[in-house]
Symmetry: C2
Subunit: 323 residues, 2 copies
């Protein structure tokens, strides 16, 4: 089967591509070709069994999207997005990529007669807005507080409607914050959640800009790959008209993350975390959801990480493999 | 002040236009000009005090919408929509008018520097999907089951985001089914709710295709006009980021409607209602919401009809005035 990953050069797309190429399978079917599309060329290499096709372009250009879909991949992962901060800073770009780009994809599929692919769409917990209950359930109202959240919610509505119409077979997954992100520190407000684990493990200092009792909803990179593969292979019948699900994660406080780091890697690593309270980041993080009851997703077979200790151990293994 | 009504030739737009022209006011401000835009020419006549400008066109054409907004009306009522049945039958047309047309309007406003009009947007209870609680509250999840509902919900998300960004000052109102609609029977599945009152009052037979215990959420044409005027003049500060409200209505059963008709107009009118069960209409109506708790709207000053008897009496008065 042929698989298309839109956003194939980002962290989540790269992990997924590498998993597909390494296993040569998606569920019980062999994968013959993976097309990796992004604004920059993806680096994942193919094998004799699995060809990798790397393409670049802009999904806000309809002709570009038509060309991607003309190959009729059986499964399309739509991971491409302008992230929260940039969508807030650049109103036009956010709507152009996150709304027009998504709609172009669904319309390009509709234009192919007799074509009905599985489409896995990464949504976000940014579809929810404060005030939040103790744990956000599957029936909680979607009231986004950012342009990014509004754009992701519009994508969910389109995915549901195009699925209900039989144009495509969609599954939307709202990912937790991915921790531990590999690589260098980035400027995302959520970056420190990874930084306070990743930097000490590499022997570097990390800055913690919030209090230890801040609670957040996280999943490992491996879980994110697992969610995508399950979404691509699951039976969508039981989802009915509501194709979008909050993924199961772990609700952990910063203090619990730090304690887990000490337990797994030693107190000398913990000593590398420097507390430098930052009012701006504190304010942003205070508006984020802290905990979910992801019962629908769990019932549909999506599996969360077992513990934050396991997330740290998996990151250590990934570093050793990469090193 | 100048007022623009997009959808000014429909029942709701016409009633609103006539109210504005008759009073010459919108809240505490004098109205100097009302522009009525629709696909067909609106018939409302101006007065010496209030000029009426009639324009026709298609809001899926951006240049048309730019021209409407170039006049910088202080208040814009956006009532134009492809209705539920047609949006389901014609996928392209529904998205073109209900999504692209709405977005064109908001973008045309954004393109006008220093312009920040009040925009009143008619949404719909079709943003909600079954299963429903006994009464749908303001925190109930929006999960539309039709393309029309998805399009209206996308419009709500855009209205909220453009308002949050300070581009416009939006209020979205989800109207109940309007009863008693004047004029001839139409083919809408909800048409009988008006028909069983309107036709007998005119001495004609009416067909009732559902059981007497079917419950529905209704408001009078006069209430719809009142909602629009209040939405145009209210203080939007207390709405915060959630600019869209379910309007207060009456939750009445068909049996209660018929009893009210007998009480107000006599049992000889009731005798003109012919029970002809229709499985298709029964099925459609079974999927509709039956009751709401419109607490936010009531708290924001929107006022429901007092009783179904009052709705019937108001229709009788309107007929006498028209006659």
């Amino acid at each position: 089967m042929k698989v298309l990953i839109i956003g194939g050069a980002g962290m989540v797309g790269r992990n997924l591509a590498e998993a597909l190429v390494a296993s040569g399978r998606l569920g019980d079917r062999a994968v013959s070709e993976v097309t990796l599309f992004d604004v920059v060329p993806a680096a994942t290499q193919g094998t004799d069994a699995v060809a990798v096709r790397v393409m670049t372009g802009d999904i806000s250009d309809r002709a570009t999207v038509d060309a991607l879909v003309a190959d009729r991949p059986e499964v399309i992962f739509h991971l491409a997005a302008i992230v929260s901060g940039e969508a807030e800073a650049d109103f036009d770009k956010g709507y152009r990529i996150n709304l027009d780009g998504t709609r172009h994809l669904f319309e390009a599929i509709r234009a192919e007669a007799g074509y009905h692919p599985r489409v896995v769409y990464t949504s976000s917990i940014a579809v929810f807005g404060a005030p939040f209950p103790e744990a956000i359930g599957d029936e909680f109202i979607t009231a986004p507080m950012t342009s990014y959240g509004a754009q992701k919610m519009i994508g969910e509505l389109l995915l549901n409607d195009y699925s209900r119409r039989g144009i495509l077979d969609g599954v939307g997954i709202r990912l937790p914050t991915i921790v531990v992100r590999p690589g260098k520190p980035n400027k995302a407000a959520s970056g420190f959640f990874s930084g306070i684990i990743r930097e000490p493990l590499a022997g570097l200092e990390a800055v913690l800009p919030v209090d230890d009792d801040v609670r957040h909803w996280v999943a490992s990179p491996a879980s994110a790959t697992g969610f995508l593969i399950h979404a691509a292979t699951m039976d969508t019948g039981p989802l009915g008209a509501r194709r979008c699900l909050t993924m199961p994660g772990l609700s952990v406080t910063v203090g619990e993350m730090i304690a887990a780091l000490g337990e797994v890697a030693g107190e000398d690593k913990v000593a590398l975390i420097k507390r430098q309270p930052d009012a701006t980041i504190r304010g942003i993080v205070a508006g984020w959801p802290r905990n979910f009851d992801a019962a629908r997703a769990t019932g549909a077979g999506f599996v969360a990480d077992a513990s934050f200790q396991d997330i740290i151990r998996a990151h250590i293994r990934d570093m050793e493999t990469a090193g």
